[in-house]
Amino acid sequence: MGVNLDNSNVATRENRIGSITGYIGSLKDLAEQSECGTLKGCSRCFSQSSTCLSSCALGQLCGIRDVALIHHGPAGCSVAAAGSYYMSKVMPKKRGVTSSTVYVGTDMNENDTIFGSTETLRSVILEVNKRYSPKAIFVSSSCATGIIGEDIDSIVDEVRDEVGVPIVAVHCEGFKSRIWATGFDISDHAVLQSIVQPPREGVKTNKINFKNFFESARPEIIEIFKRFDLEPVFLYCNSTVEELSHLSESLATTCICGTLGNYLGNTLEEKYGVPYVRSINQCGIKGFEAWLREIGKVTGRSEKVEEYIAEQRAIYMPQIEEIKKELTGLTAVIGMGPGYTFEVSRVLDELGIKVVWALAWHYDKKYENGDVPPSMKYLLENNIDFEASVADQQNYEVMNILHKYKPDMYLSRHPGSTVWAIKNGTPAVYVADEYMIFGYKNTLEFAKTVLDAIRNRSFEENLAARTKLPYTDWWYKQNVDAFLEEAK
C-alpha cells in the first residue's frame, strides 16, 4: 500500500482504499461489485449526524499509558477528554496498573481563528511536558485549526529536541473524511511514526500484537495463548510507550476488528515483515476456529491449535446446538461498522437467525493489501445473501428499515442507534463489548443474551406504545434510498 511514515498526514479511507458510505442493494451485489472494481458509492442530499474521526483517533491514543494529548482547537472539540479521563483512570485500575495519561484542550477562541495561535501552542506543549512529564506527546488539530492553516507540524518539529520524548502531530480535521474509522488509521499512523522502532538485533520473542478496544477478554486470551506458547500484547488500551516501541519484533499482528486493525497490521507487515493475520474475525464458531488456525499457520503452532479446538468443541458445541433450536427462524436487522456487520451476520447465520437487512456504517472495497475483506468472501462462498446497505449511521434509514421489516431484534454496536430501535419497540442488543461474541464460551453467552432480549419485551413494547418518534408518516412510506444520489 506504500505507507509514508515521513509525513504526519495519512490519506483518508475514501482515497486510500476506496471506502464508501452510500449504497443500497444486496450483499452479493455489493461483494461482486467490489471484486470487479465497479462499486461506486452514492452520496445523500439529506443526512443526519455522523461522527467525528477525532473521537476514534484520540480515543485510541488516550488509552496508552502515561502520555499527553493536546487537542488544539475550540473547547467543544476536546470533549473526548471525558472519555479519556475514564480510559486513564478506570481501565488501568481494572487491570491493576496505573496511568497518568492526560488530555488537554487549548480552548481556541475567535481571536485565535483570525490571528492564529501557533505560538501559544508551543508554550502549551512545553508547559504540558513540564507539568506531567509524559512519555510521549500527541498534538492534534481540529476543523478550525485545519481551515485557518495552523502549522502544527512545524511547531512539533521545533520543540522535539526540547521535550525529549516522542512527539507527533495528529491530523484530525473532522471534515477530512465521512468515515470516522479513518481516525483509527490516524492513531496508528501517529504511533508508527513516533513510537514504533525497528526490531532490535538478536531479540527473540513469542509475542503477538493484539489490536483491540478495551481488552476485556485479556485474562481469557492470555490463557488460550499460553497453550500455544504465545504472549499477546494488547493495544492500545493500557499499552506502555515501551511496549509499543517494540511492536516490530512480534511474531505476528492480529486484531479483533478488521476496521480497527488493518492499518497497523498491514504497515507492520510491509515495513518490518511482521505477518498480519488475515482471516474472518473471532466472532462465532467458524470465525474463531478459522482465526486460531491462521495464527497456528503463521506462527508454526498448528498442532497445538487443533488440540485446543477439539477440546473446546467437545465442551461447547452440544450446548450451542441446544440453544440454536430456540433461535432458529428469528429475524434480525443489524447496524454496525463493517468490521463487525459482515462478521456478526455470519454468526447469526450459524445460530439459525435470519438476517433480513444488514447496515454497515461504511464499506472498505478492499483492504490495504488489495483483497476484498475476508468476512465478505466467506459470506459469498457460503451463498449467504440478504439486503444490505452502507450508511454512516443514518438513523432515519435504520428506522425506515425497522418499521418495514419489523424484525425480532436489532443489533448494533453503537448505543445511540439502539436507543431509537427500542423507542420503536424493537428489542435491541447493544453489542458493546468487542469480545461479546468471541470464541465458544462467549458465542454461547451471546445466544443466551439474544434469547433474553426477545423473550421479555416489556420495556420496548410499553415504551413504544407511549412515545412518538420524530419521523413523519410520509417517510415510513418511502423507499430507504429516497435521499441517495449518484456521487458527483
Partner: protein, 429 residues
C-alpha cells in the same frame, strides 16, 4: 486566548444551543457543520449530565449537512439547502433551527439567506449564525435565547400578570435541570403563579413564542444572561429579577420566594402561608434524623449556581463549616466574580470560605492538595472524585459534569431538594 485546559467541561456554543433545543418539545436542530459536531456537542453536555439525552431528537437523529472537504472548498450552502428540504419532509417537528459549525463559520456560508428561502414558503426555519469557536455552552444558552428574542417571540401577546419566565438554569449543562425546574415550578405555582420553565411539562415552541406575556423574568444565576434579559425588557417590556444563585434548603428558598413575591407584589399573607407550610415540611423531616451525619469541614467545586446553593445550605442551614469554594466556570468579568464571591461569603452563621476561580483541572487539584485547613467533605463533579480519593475526603458528585450517576428528576434545589441532598450526603458517608 488558547490556554491549557485539562478536563474541559461542557462544549462549544453549539452544545449550549443543542441542549436548549433538545429540551423543548418537537423542535429540531439542523447542524450545518462537519460530520462530527453533532455527536461531539451531544457528548459534551448531554453525555456528561447524569445520562439523560433529549427525548424528541438527539445525537444520531439530528439532521446535519456533514460538511466535507468539498464544501470547505466550494461552500456548503447547497448541501445545507437539501438538508433543510429533507428535514422538512422527514422530521415531524414544529420548528427548525440551523446551527453553524466552525467550518461553515470560517468559510462564511450565508446561512440566513438559505433559511429565508424556506421562511418565504411558510416554514419555520430559523438561522443561528454564531459559530462553535466563539464560546462555550453557556454562551450557547444566551445565544439561542437571543435568537428567540430577535426572531421567534411575538410582540403582540397580551400581558398576563401571573405568568413568569425562568432563566439561568441550562438544561443538560446542569445535570439536575429537570428536577430543579420542576421544584421551582411547584413552589411558584403554589403562590398562584403560572410558570414557563420552557423545558419541562412538554413546553413547546408555542410557549416560547408567547412568553412575552410574562410579568417577570426570573434569572436564577449569579452571572449569566444579562444581555438577553436586557434585550427582552427593551423589546417586550418584561422586567427581570436576578436571584444571585440556586437555592438549597429553607433559608435561601424562602428568600427566593419573598423576592419573587415582592417583585410581583403578591398577597403577603398567602405567601407567608406557603413559606410556613414548606419550611415545616422540611424541618419535619430534618428533625427525624438528627445526628445521622457528623459535622463536616467542606469544599465545593462547581459552577457558580450549584456552588452557591450547596455552600449556603450547608453553612447556613446545616451547621457544616465551609473551607474552600472553587468556581470552575470561565467567569472573566470582575463584577461577576465579585457578585458570586459576595453571595458565597455573605453567610449568616459560618466563617466565610476561600473562593477561587479555576477552570483547569490541574490547578483545581493543586488547590485541594495545598489547602492548609482540613477538608472532610468535597462536593464536586465526576472529574473531582479522583482528588477526593487521593486525599481521602468524603465525596458527593453534585456538579457538572456527572457521568457516574443516573438522574431523572432528582434535584438538590428548593425545599424538597435539600432533603434529597442531605440523604445523598448520608449515602456517601
Amino acid at each position: 486566548m488558547a490556554q491549557i485546559m485539562e478536563n474541559p467541561r461542557g462544549g462549544c456554543v453549539l452544545a449550549g444551543i443543542n441542549s436548549v433545543l433538545g429540551a423543548i418539545d418537537r423542535v429540531c436542530p439542523i447542524y450545518h457543520s462537519g460530520p462530527g459536531c453533532c455527536m461531539q456537542t451531544t457528548a459534551s453536555d448531554q453525555g456528561q449530565s447524569g445520562h439523560k439525552s433529549s427525548c424528541f431528537v438527539s445525537s444520531v437523529s439530528i439532521p446535519s449537512s456533514n460538511m466535507l472537504e468539498k464544501e470547505v472548498v466550494f461552500g456548503g450552502v447547497n448541501k445545507l439547502r437539501t438538508t433543510i428540504e429533507g428535514a422538512l419532509e422527514i422530521m415531524d417537528a414544529d420548528a427548525f433551527f440551523v446551527l453553524t459549525g466552525c467550518t461553515a463559520g470560517i468559510i462564511g456560508d450565508d446561512v440566513t439567506s438559505v433559511t429565508e428561502e424556506f421562511q418565504k414558503q411558510g416554514h419555520e426555519v430559523y438561522p443561528i449564525e454564531t459559530p462553535g469557536f466563539v464560546g462555550d455552552s453557556i454562551l450557547g444558552y444566551e445565544c439561542i435565547w437571543s435568537t428567540f428574542i430577535n426572531k421567534v417571540i411575538r410582540t403582540d401577546v397580551p400581558k398576563d400578570d401571573k405568568l413568569v419566565n425562568i432563566f439561568g438554569i441550562i438544561p443538560y449543562h446542569d445535570p439536575f435541570w429537570s428536577g430543579t425546574l420542576e421544584e421551582i415550578d411547584r413552589i411558584l405555582s403554589s403562590l398562584g403563579l403560572k410558570v414557563n420553565t420552557f423545558f419541562t411539562k412538554h413546553q413547546s415552541i408555542e410557549d416560547i413564542k408567547n412568553c412575552s406575556a410574562a410579568a417577570l423574568n426570573i434569572i436564577i444565576n449569579p452571572w449569566i444572561f444579562d444581555g438577553p434579559a436586557k434585550k427582552f425588557e427593551e423589546k417586550f417590556g418584561t422586567p427581570s429579577l436576578r436571584f444571585p444563585g440556586l437555592f438549597t434548603g429553607a433559608t435561601d428558598t424562602t428568600e427566593f420566594v419573598r423576592a419573587v413575591a415582592q417583585a410581583l407584589d403578591l398577597n403577603s399573607e398567602k405567601v407567608e402561608k406557603v413559606i410556613a407550610y414548606e419550611e415545616d415540611y422540611v424541618y419535619g423531616y430534618l428533625e427525624q434524623a438528627i445526628g445521622a451525619l457528623s459535622w463536616k469541614r467542606f469544599a465545593v467545586i462547581g459552577d457558580a449556581n450549584a456552588a452557591t446553593a450547596y455552600t449556603r445550605y450547608l453553612a447556613n442551614d446545616y451547621s457544616f463549616t465551609p473551607v474552600l469554594v472553587i468556581i470552575n466556570e470561565p467567569v472573566t468579568k470582575e463584577q461577576d466574580r465579585e457578585r458570586i464571591t459576595k453571595r458565597i461569603r455573605d453567610l449568616e452563621f459560618a466563617k466565610p470560605p476561600k473562593v477561587l476561580f479555576l477552570t483547569d483541572q490541574y490547578d483545581i487539584n493543586e488547590a485541594i492538595r495545598n489547602e492548609e485547613e482540613e477538608i472532610t467533605l468535597l462536593i464536586g463533579s465526576t472529574n473531582d472524585r479522583e482528588i477526593a480519593l487521593e486525599q481521602d475526603i468524603q465525596f458527593l458528585g453534585g456538579t457538572f459534569p456527572i457521568n457516574d450517576r443516573l438522574f431523572f428528576n432528582r434535584t438538590y434545589t428548593g425545599y424538597r431538594g435539600s432533603l434529597t441532598f442531605t440523604e445523598d450526603l448520608y449515602d456517601n458517608l
